[in-house]
């Protein structure tokens, strides 16, 4: 029995948003009488934390703490259109719509505050904790609470805004394929260390070091959630998963979580995540979409590490113990 160690690397990029664009999303923002802000969407939170991120984007743009923002989604009677949550588009597309709607609402809010303070709206700024003051003169201020009350009950103004974000659709040129698939790309490089049992073909992923460039980590802990879970899924894809284990035969497809294989809590690699930020020119606060690309680089990195360990190439996913063992037997026979 021999456990053989190997290491592999892979580097990738990933487009943010629906390929070729043409995927709009909208947002509506309005304040309540006491200066809380409602963001109305028809966007879906799949668990990645879309609602939380949209609240932070709105809060930053308006100038209030995040807990003062409520996200109302997803109801097609009340929420304006959103193309959907897929293609790493949520943060970028919907976030941009929220920024636009929040800016419009902020402008009204500052105009109301300006009237109350008898200054020009362009001279005002927010402190991020719920107050508006004159630039350079923080003592001359009004709370957003009072501003909203003023807007509602004295001035009869709606502190609200509309946001719409659309990357225009690109149509590929028929003969050359000239096209604009995406406006920004996330990046990653992953190094994987594995141990391969050369008598059984079993692979243990010992460590994964992932470097991800995602534009801007709007909520770092939530980014970490996505990246750690994605890294696990990448390893899962590399070594375990398929609905058709004997493809192209349709036989023996898994029908439950016992038969559909994924790494269990006892199979976890030592995982390290490093994040770089190169803000996207058109991203909300520079953000790109990290949700999909984080599960991609581990797959080839594992494949390359397996080769490094035992000298066989498995060019068919998943890289099962059976495929490795068959290749090792061929290698020994040759």
């Amino acid at each position: 029995m021999a456990i053989r160690r190997g290491r592999g690397v892979a580097a990738i990029n990933y487009p943010t948003g629906m390929n070729l664009g043409g995927d709009p999303s909208q947002a509506l923002v309005h304040s309540t009488p006491t200066g809380n802000f409602m963001v109305t969407l028809s966007s879906v939170d799949l668990g990645q934390g879309l609602k939380q991120v949209m609240a932070q984007i709105c809060a930053e743009t308006i100038g209030v703490p995040t807990e003062q923002v409520i996200i109302d989604t997803a109801d097609t009677d009340t929420g304006p259109h959103c193309m959907g949550t897929f293609a790493s588009r949520g943060t970028h597309r919907i976030g941009n719509a929220v920024v636009q709607a929040a800016r419009e609402a902020r402008q009204v809010m500052l105009e109301v505050a300006a009237e109350a303070l008898e200054v020009n709206a362009s001279d005002l700024e927010t402190d991020g904790t719920g107050n508006i003051h004159v630039k350079g003169a923080p003592q001359k201020s009004i709370s957003i609470f009072d501003t909203a009350l003023t807007a509602h009950f004295k001035l009869g103004r709606s502190i609200s805004g509309r946001g719409m974000f659309l990357v225009p659709r690109s149509y590929p040129e028929v003969e050359t394929g000239a096209m604009k698939p995406s406006t920004c790309y996330a990046h990653a490089c992953t190094v994987v260390d594995v141990e391969v049992d050369d008598e059984t073909g079993e692979v243990t992923v010992v460590s994964v070091k992932n470097v991800f460039e995602i534009g801007r980590a709007l909520n770092p802990k939530m980014v970490e959630q996505q990246l750690v879970g994605g890294s696990w899924m990448g390893i899962s894809h590399a070594l375990y998963e398929t609905t058709e284990p004997y493809y192209p035969s349709r036989e023996h497809g898994g029908t439950d979580f016992n038969e559909y294989l994924m790494p269990g809590p006892g199979d976890l690699a030592d995982t390290e995540i490093i994040v770089l930020e190169r803000p996207a020119a058109d991203g909300p606060y520079g953000a790109k979409g990290p949700g999909e690309m984080c599960a991609n680089p581990q797959i080839p990195a594992v494949a390359n590490a397996v080769f490094d360990a035992v000298g066989v190439r498995i060019d068919m996913l998943p890289i099962t113990p059976e495929r490795i063992l068959r290749a090792l037997k061929e290698q020994r026979a040759a």
Binding site: E224, Q225, S231, W232, F257, P265
Partner: protein, 169 residues
């Protein structure tokens, strides 16, 4: 519709058990799973039906302190038992240490596995207050999470155990 009414006249049996400290008495269709009774009769939707096969763990509850899959447990077999679900863990609005650890440790994403995970973890901590990582891994090994890669969940459970023992000390 005559035949439909016929179907409705199926055998109902009385059942009594304690759910999260409250006495419950219901008439249920014989052969109903505990999951179905909890969700549809008693309105406790904290256990989820992720597979109804016993392979995902989202329906995990405690029956007399033992971890069980409510999708494979017939309600009638719980007669007189004490059933605990995640919905019953917070006392007086104060979260259980496990709930707090999952929340603070960013151990939830879509949240669908969370109630089952928390019950599996509680079954462990009730028995082993200071578990090793290996014991935690075993405790959640029947619960599938597709979002987190498990690591934040394992850490949250270990951290809840630490905060618990700190409390006791």
């Amino acid at each position: 519709m005559g035949v439909a009414r016929e179907e409705k006249r199926m055998a109902k049996v009385p059942i009594q058990f304690v759910l999260n400290g409250d006495e419950k008495a219901e008439f249920v269709e014989s052969g109903s799973t505990l999951l179905k009774v909890l969700r549809e009769k008693l309105g406790d939707t904290s256990p989820k039906g992720g597979c109804h096969q016993g392979t995902c763990g989202t329906c995990s509850v405690l029956v007399d302190g033992e971890l069980r899959l409510s999708c494979l447990t017939l309600a009638e077999t719980c007669e007189g038992a004490s059933v605990t679900t995640t919905a019953g863990l917070a006392e007086g609005g104060v979260l259980h240490p496990l709930q707090r650890a999952f929340q603070e440790g960013f151990a939830t994403q879509c949240g669908f596995c969370t109630p089952g995970m928390i019950m599996a973890a509680k079954a462990l901590l009730d028995r082993v207050p200071n578990p090793t990582r290996e014991e935690v891994v075993d405790a959640i090994s029947g619960n599938i999470c597709r979002c987190t890669g498990y690591e934040p969940i394992i850490r949250a459970i270990l951290s809840a155990a630490r905060s618990n023992s700190h409390h006791a000390a």
